[in-house]
């Protein structure tokens, strides 16, 4: 695969993850279980939106078609998106949101850490800034998963249900394709499969403390990061997120 094309795909994958997850988390604003959590969730969403501006900004630059990060965020259709299916899954209850966050953060930190050594200086710089934010996200989401998993019978049951629901989407993080091969070749990004062992360690430690049980391994649900088959949820998210840009094309806000 041509290096530039693979690089663009990679940047979309990074930026679409943070775009879609940031959007999901922002849906909580004003509705969280307690004020302190409301404020913390907004911080997470703000970090992710900021990272999106950097990744998609670079993607637009690499694409070289005179577009902006906003164009990429608001004017592509579902099949153009390259985010993991995990991040487009609906918020569900607070437990499901935090479980999704934890499962993502645990991967995100490893990925960003590896990217700080990227052969592309722009990627390394974005990763260096983002990894600090993601490290805090992981600390917070892991502590909450532990608290709720090891809380009451009800909170335990809800967290186990969230894990059972979301775990099938974890495998997609570690699938490799031609894009990944080209990136590894160029020293831009790590082979996804190489992150799996550390990821499993984090999960085992945190879920053990949370007294939660990893579900039986099932076939990984893929189709997000290569855009081949998103879930039905993504279209509804985009319908909301892109409404203004679609309804008033070309306007400046």
């Amino acid at each position: 695969m041509a290096r530039e094309a693979a690089f663009y795909e990679f940047l979309l994958r990074m930026g679409d993850n943070t775009l879609i997850l940031g959007h999901r988390v922002s849906e909580w604003c004003g509705h969280a279980p307690v004020l302190e959590e409301d404020i913390a969730l907004a911080n997470t969403a703000l970090d992710l939106i900021g990272q999106t501006q950097m990744w998609l900004g670079l993607a637009a630059e690499v694409q070289g078609a005179g577009k902006t990060a906003d164009d990429l965020a608001f004017l592509r259709d579902a099949w153009d998106f390259r985010n993991l299916l995990l991040v487009e899954m609906p918020n569900g209850d607070f437990g499901q949101t935090l479980m999704r966050q934890f499962l993502f953060d645990a991967w995100h930190v490893l990925q960003l850490r590896a990217l700080t050594a990227s052969s592309d200086a722009r990627v390394a710089a974005i990763a260096a800034k983002s990894v600090k934010e993601a490290t805090y996200h992981l600390e917070r989401s892991a502590e909450t998963v532990v608290g709720l998993g090891d809380g009451t019978a009800e909170s335990h049951a809800r967290m186990q249900a969230a894990l059972d629901y979301l775990y099938p989407y974890v495998g997609e993080m570690f699938l490799s394709d031609a894009v990944d091969a080209a990136l590894v070749e160029a020293g831009i990004a790590p082979d996804p499969a190489s992150l799996r062992a550390d990821y499993d360690d984090t999960l085992a430690r945190v879920l053990g403390e949370a007294t939660l049980t990893l579900p039986e391994a099932r076939r990984a649900r893929g189709g997000g990061r290569d855009g081949k088959m998103h879930t039905e949820h993504l279209g509804h998210l985009l319908t909301t997120m892109q409404w203004m840009q679609r309804a008033y094309p070309g306007a400046t806000w």
């Binding site: 004003g30 969280a32 307690v34 939106i49 906003d70 608001f74 009800e154 909170s155 306007a251």
Partner: protein, 330 residues
């Protein structure tokens, strides 16, 4: 304002002769500009009025997250989304600071929350109006935050220490809120004809509700007189409303938008604008619960609270287990 129609407890202002020695000493401290701190002696009426006022102010911040939160997921650009989210998050923070200030008076946040949820405590009438277009994000920031700042800046000098400190923090953080709203309005007023029409429509819908935020004329209110003597209300409603109109009209002119008031004229003699009163009947209906969004706003707050119960309980149960394990290990 964020705290409207707060009734102070008691029968109105007492003369020095009618006060007990303690009350006289208390009033003297306030007159001398001293701050009252939570453990200091205070009249029961002062404490109760403050709980009502700070509580209502806090509730307004929390319910106030909803009309703007309504547009976070539809913000037109990434930057606008980040700004709006940061602003609505600040409101949650301001609610938090204010609840903490009220908690120093011997009421818990949960108690206050329950009183909001079952309607025993109020929040500002303004948040019972809907946000229908993106221009409303501009109008709310510009007009609603603008009106709130008018009230909150003087409240930094209020007599109750924790309230004063909370207001200082709030004012510092809020300084960008009104500006971001005006910035949205500027972009739209200079944009396409459709955008400009949207901006005008937002001004039309929010102008009178913004004027209502200051509450009805209170120049003869005994409650206001008492609150002003205690320095928990710093200006009359009419003073603040006039100041707001005088400040806002030129801004509307700058935007090229029309304030929806045919009677609006500059009065050279008083050095301010003459303007139409809002429909006070509508105001009282909104306060009573019959505004466009009262039911939905309270339902949203109730849902968040009820749906979150298992989270609050779960986190607490884990913390208690952790403490027990730690003690057993020692």
């Amino acid at each position: 304002m964020y705290a409207q129609m707060v009734k102070s407890t008691g029968t109105g202002l007492k003369s020095a002769d009618e006060m007990s020695a303690e009350e006289r000493a208390f009033q003297a401290r306030i007159d001398a500009g001293e701050k009252i701190e939570p453990k200091d002696w205070m009249p029961e009426g002062y404490r109760k009025t403050l709980i009502r006022q700070i509580g209502q102010h806090a509730h307004s911040e929390i319910v106030g997250q909803l009309p703007e939160g309504n547009w976070i997921t539809r913000a037109p650009t990434l930057e606008r989304k980040a700004i709006l989210l940061a602003k609505v998050q600040d409101e949650a923070g301001h609610g938090l600071y204010l609840y903490c200030a009220a908690e120093t008076l011997g009421v818990s946040r949960d108690e206050m929350t329950e009183m909001l949820l079952d309607g025993r405590m109020k929040y500002s009438s303004i948040f019972n109006y809907p946000t229908l277009t993106w221009a409303d994000m501009g109008a709310v920031g510009w007009l609603v935050d603008g009106a709130a700042i008018m009230n909150q800046v003087p409240l930094q000098r209020t007599s109750f220490g924790p309230y004063s400190r909370a207001m200082i923090r709030v004012c510092k953080e809020e300084s960008f809120h009104q500006r971001q709203g005006f910035d949205i309005m500027m972009k739209m007023a200079q944009g396409t004809p459709q955008q400009k029409a949207m901006a005008q429509d937002a001004l039309n819908r929010f102008w009178y509700p913004a004027l209502m935020m200051f509450g009805p004329s209170d120049k003869d209110s005994v409650h206001s007189a008492q609150s002003m003597a205690w320095k928990i209300k710093m200006n009359t409603n009419d003073e603040l409303r006039q100041k707001f109109v005088d400040q806002t009209v030129p801004q509307a002119e700058y935007l090229g938008l029309t304030v929806p008031d045919e009677n609006l004229t500059w009065n050279e003699e008083k050095g301010g604008y003459d303007f139409s009163e809002p429909d006070w009947e509508e105001f009282f209906e909104v306060i009573k619960g019959n505004g466009p969004c009262n039911t939905d706003r309270l339902a949203a707050r109730n849902k968040a609270w009820d749906d979150g119960a298992w989270v609050r309980e779960g986190m607490m149960a884990h913390a208690e287990k952790k403490r027990a394990r730690k003690m057993a290990a020692e």
